[in-house]
């Protein structure tokens, strides 16, 4: 029995098929979740994909925060369920206060699509435990509102507690302290702007580095008794 990873489709989600493919290629079972259905269909983890949920009305991710499914996701995350947000999914997690900080307009004010070189800063999360800390990965980054910002105090706290998960090696958007991805205190909720689900196949992506994201959560779930990698 492979682990079931729910992939949420909001109206305007775009990378949901890609997320499901990444789950499948990494050996998991993708399960579609619908934005206004509170049921999580007994999934073991949740993947919030990229896109423009609700047309990015108001602010990116601002409306998705109030969706039925996010009520349940928030409750499940509090119970330790692994939750990943990529791009718009990261924006949704920040708007939902599952992760600190915010994603604002790129410093250069344009949408930019480039492969991003990232450093994995920590393996102490449900979604990165199979990566070597300090290792480099390449995921495509493609967004107009991906500049990570937070109060200096919040940033200091993230750094001090090892909650910066990915850092840009060539900062493409002006993110503070080159932050590309962060996690919550428990390490089960991770958000990042670049797209690991677009780096799962040599044929179509710049690398296959992204397979490790889902592989990590599958390892985390099967070794759920041993949570030493996650809790601190």
């Amino acid at each position: 029995m492979s682990a079931r990873v729910g992939v949420v489709t909001f109206p305007g989600s775009l990378d949901d098929r890609d997320a499901a493919r990444a789950v499948r290629l990494a050996g998991g079972e993708p399960v579609g979740l619908w934005h206004d259905d509170a049921a999580l269909a007994s999934v073991d983890a949740v993947f919030l994909p990229g896109g423009f949920s609700y047309g990015d009305a108001l602010r990116c991710g601002a409306i998705a925060r109030f969706s039925q499914v996010m009520d349940t996701v928030k409750a499940a995350a509090a119970q330790g369920m692994p939750v990943l947000g990529v791009c718009n999914g990261f924006q949704v997690l920040c708007e939902s206060h599952l992760l600190p900080g915010a994603l604002v307009r790129n410093a250069h004010l344009r949408y930019r699509n480039r492969p991003a070189r990232l450093r994995v800063e920590t393996a102490h999360t449900a979604w990165t435990r199979l990566y070597e800390p300090g290792s480099e990965v390449v995921f495509p980054a493609k967004h107009g509102e991906g500049r990570y910002v937070a109060d200096e105090a919040v940033l200091d706290e993230l750094e001090a507690s090892g909650r910066v998960v990915f850092r840009y090696l060539d900062n493409p958007n002006g993110s503070m302290r080159d932050i590309a991805g962060v996690t919550n205190e428990a390490g089960n909720v991770v958000g990042l702007m670049p797209h690991p689900e677009h780096a799962v196949d040599e044929l179509t992506g710049p690398s296959t580095d992204g397979l490790g994201i889902v592989a990590s959560v599958l390892a985390h779930l099967t070794g759920a008794v041993d949570t030493s990698g996650v809790s601190r």
Binding site: G12, D15, D18, F52, Y111, K142, T204
Partner: protein, 758 residues
């Protein structure tokens, strides 16, 4: 009920007031056309009817100037079992295998993109995507072919960033990868930029949809965005008349505003409805809005249609019936459904948060009847709108200056002669606006959503995987060359066709279909009509010779300000199929030690070339020779070599010739190239000639003999040029000069932003 306070011009009123003065001239109709409308109706048209006829009989909708020439496509198209739907449908559909089909089409949105670059370009993308949906397909990619005025002209800094932002914003938000295209600059496009967008979609063959409003009693549903005042008169005003020299101020409200989020919902809902078998007929609303969709579906169906116009959801107050009928509000589709299934259609739309409203019924009256609050405002035979518009036989005259232009050959221009001069020319050409790196533009586009983009920009063609299990995929290229077409529109159109065909073949795919976007000046100018007729004939003859059909396309006339028309610019899209995308051939230089060779013949052909333009501002002479038999052999060779995995990389030679192809391969691959020109070759000619039918190939070690033999068997000349080498810094042209990678990249990269003054 504010509408009821306005005096509505009903059929009854029209009957009672036959002599009422009507603004047919202002709406772009000619007197004989107005009289014909009166004959058809047996009375004067109502205000709404007049609006509908003026729209449907406009150049944009009726193809009245082009139709007599476009017939050639139908007459000359080769018969192929692959063609499932052709010209006249929303987009051509070709079979890929026994299960899958693809549909693709290129369309212009030139005039709106000049008036309001961002929204003009965005809605161009939105419109072509809906054409793809209307065939029953899931759109899977877009491409764009762009032409602007001089890059250093102040207005280009307004138009280009807006157009790119519009294409990017719409495509990115609707979730389609942009897999390629082209961008060119030429002063002839200063007041008339060209924005041509292509979309491609995939469908199970069984899901092919029709635009017929058939089945008496069936329900007519309008789905998608509310109808507003935007874009009223867009077709008849913007796309069917020349910009006045005094400016475009009055045209501003005619450009529509796009909402890609609603379009994304339309895609998902429509596909869900098609899959569930809930749809009898479907038509998108684009230029000409409800007028076009109602008249075309009714005309294609078997009877008539009755519409209650007050049911159309509006986003503006006080809209009159003719406003509602003419509105070009975006993101709307018209569906014909069985009344027993209407409730399910509405429910599925609601689930996605998409508006859908029953607005009418299919009837057997043979009339399109539109009521507004119970009063009949339209009662017409639908075919008179959709199919029986005016047909013009416009006068045609060869331009007087052609003979003079033909003898003004670029081959006689002064050329660089020393190695140092040629070296500098390589760098200057790489840095020129048409040849430099376009990532400033393409980085603003999503290229990877869906996870099926196997090759995107800057490869010669975009390659998309259709099926993960079988690996079957498609390749598409979009090409045009207005300079060649200006010198000789017949040859220029065939050169564009040959280039698009070759670009597809270079990836290892087999070309199977053509779509074209024909951008020209005013059809009222006999010289422009001559160019048009020659270009169409060139494409039709070319398609016949290549054995692949033209499946659809679009004509854009009136790309002209005052007396200054653009270069005739036929833009050609070619679609190919590749059995296994794992065997695609990329751009690059392969591995160290791989052989670099040139397939095809290099002649002294510099007229119309980028070199003549960049270095001399010159356009004259005759364009390069086009040889479609050669192109077919070349394509067959490349397909075979791809199947046998005997090529590491390949690159089409086009603008800028061999020099530019080498620069691009080096910059893309990270390797250097050691090149030795053939004995006796004139270095300048060999590097910068734009002879057609040539491909740079990179052959893995051990395959040289096999590739040479394959070329010889087909009578294709192959010339070894050198080797790929990681230890060579950039380009080493033996006995002549070296250009290090850093210097090459400094010339080639980052130019667009710099030239736009960023």
């Amino acid at each position: 009920m504010s509408q009821l306070n306005v005096a509505i011009d009903t059929v009854g009123v029209a009957d009672a007031t036959p002599d009422e003065k009507q603004p047919w001239l202002e709406l772009g109709l000619k007197e004989d056309e107005y009289q014909r409308i009166r004959e058809i109706l047996g009375r004067r048209p109502t205000q709404s009817e007049l609006a509908m006829y003026s729209i449907m009989w406009s150049e944009h909708c009726s193809y009245k100037s082009s139709r007599v020439h476009l017939r050639q496509f139908g007459e000359k198209n080769p018969k192929t079992p692959r063609l499932l739907a052709g010209i006249g449908e929303n987009a051509g559909v070709v079979a890929i295998d026994e299960n899958l089909a693809v549909t693709f089409k290129v369309e212009s949105h030139n005039h709106p993109s000049y008036v309001e670059p961002k929204q003009g370009a965005a809605t161009g993308v939105g419109g072509i995507i809906r054409d793809i949906i209307a065939m029953g397909a899931r759109p899977i990619a877009v491409m764009d072919s762009l032409r602007f005025g001089a890059i250093d002209h102040p207005d280009t800094a307004r138009v280009l960033p807006g157009v790119v932002d519009g294409i990017g914003h719409y495509g990115n938000c609707v979730g389609l990868p942009n897999i390629g295209g082209e961008t060119y600059f030429d002063p002839c496009y200063q007041g008339n930029p060209l924005v041509n967008a292509l979309s491609v979609g995939v469908l199970p063959r069984s899901r092919l949809q029709s635009m017929q409003a058939s089945g008496v009693g069936n329900t007519v549903i309008l789905m998608g965005a509310k109808t507003g005042r935007d874009g009223i008169g867009g077709v008849s005003v913007l796309a069917s008349a020349t910009f006045s020299e005094t400016g475009e101020g009055d045209a501003r409200p005619s450009v529509q505003v796009g909402d890609p989020f609603t379009e994304k919902l339309l895609i998902e809902v429509c596909l869900e409805l098609f899959d569930a078998g809930l749809v009898v007929g479907v038509q998108d609303l684009g230029g000409a809005g409800l007028t076009c969709a109602l008249s075309e579906t009714a005309a294609a169906g078997d009877g008539g249609m009755h519409v209650d116009l007050e049911r159309v959801p509006l986003r503006a107050k006080g809209m009159e019936p003719h406003d509602i009928l003419a509105s070009e509000s975006q993101e709307r589709m018209l569906l014909i459904v069985d009344p027993a299934k209407a409730e399910e259609v509405l429910a599925r739309s609601r689930r996605w948060g998409l508006l859908a409203t029953e607005i009418g019924t299919v009837t057997d009256t043979g009339r399109l009847v539109v009521d507004f609050h119970g009063q009949t405002v339209v009662d017409v035979p639908p075919k008179s709108l959709a199919d029986e518009g005016p047909v013009y036989h416009r006068p045609i005259a060869e331009p007087n200056d052609l003979a003079l232009i033909a003898v003004d050959r670029a081959e006689t221009l002064p050329r660089p002669s020393t190695d140092e001069e040629i070296r500098q020319t390589v760098l200057d050409m790489a840095a020129s606006p048409n040849l430099c790196d376009k990532s400033w533009i393409t980085e603003q586009y999503d290229s990877s959503v869906f996870g099926n983009t196997v090759l995107g920009t800057p490869h010669d063609a975009g390659v998309i995987r259709l099926d993960e299990r079988t690996g079957v995929g498609i390749a598409i290229s979009l090409d045009g060359n207005g300079r060649f077409a200006r010198l000789d529109p017949y040859v220029g159109a065939q050169l564009a066709l040959a280039e698009a065909y070759r670009n597809v073949a270079v990836t290892g795919a087999t070309p199977i279909a053509i779509s074209d976007c024909l951008n020209f000046g005013s059809p009222e100018d006999p010289h422009v009509m001559w160019q048009f007729e020659r270009a169409v004939t060139g494409i039709a003859d070319g398609a016949q010779q290549l054995g692949i059909p033209v499946t659809g396309g679009n004509v854009s006339f009136y790309n002209q300000t005052g007396r200054d028309a653009i270069h005739p610019t036929p833009v050609i899209g070619v679609l190919g199929v590749i059995d296994d995308v794992h065997r695609r051939i990329p751009l690059g230089l392969g591995k160290t030690g791989d052989t670099i060779a040139l397939v095809g013949e290099t002649r002294e052909e510099l007229s119309g070339s980028e070199w003549a333009s960049v270095k001399h501002g010159h356009l004259g002479g005759v364009p390069p020779v086009v040889d479609l038999d050669h192109e077919m052999k070349l394509a067959e060779l490349l397909s075979r070599l791809a199947q046998n995995e005997q090529l590491a990389a390949a690159h089409d030679l086009s603008e800028g010739g061999l020099a530019q192809a080498l620069v691009e391969a080096i910059c893309h691959s990270g390797l250097g190239a050691q090149v030795l020109l053939p004995e006796g070759a004139d270095p300048f000619t060999y590097l910068f000639s734009e002879s057609s039918g040539r491909v740079l190939v990179v052959i893995p070690r051990g395959q040289e003999l096999a590739v040479r033999t394959a070329c010889e068997q087909r009578g294709l000349p192959i010339t070894p040029l050198g080797v790929a080498d990681a230890n060579t810094d950039g380009l080493h042209l033996r006995d002549h000069f070296d250009i290090g990678r850093e210097e090459l990249e400094a010339s080639w990269k980052g130019r667009i932003g710099a030239l736009l003054g960023e």
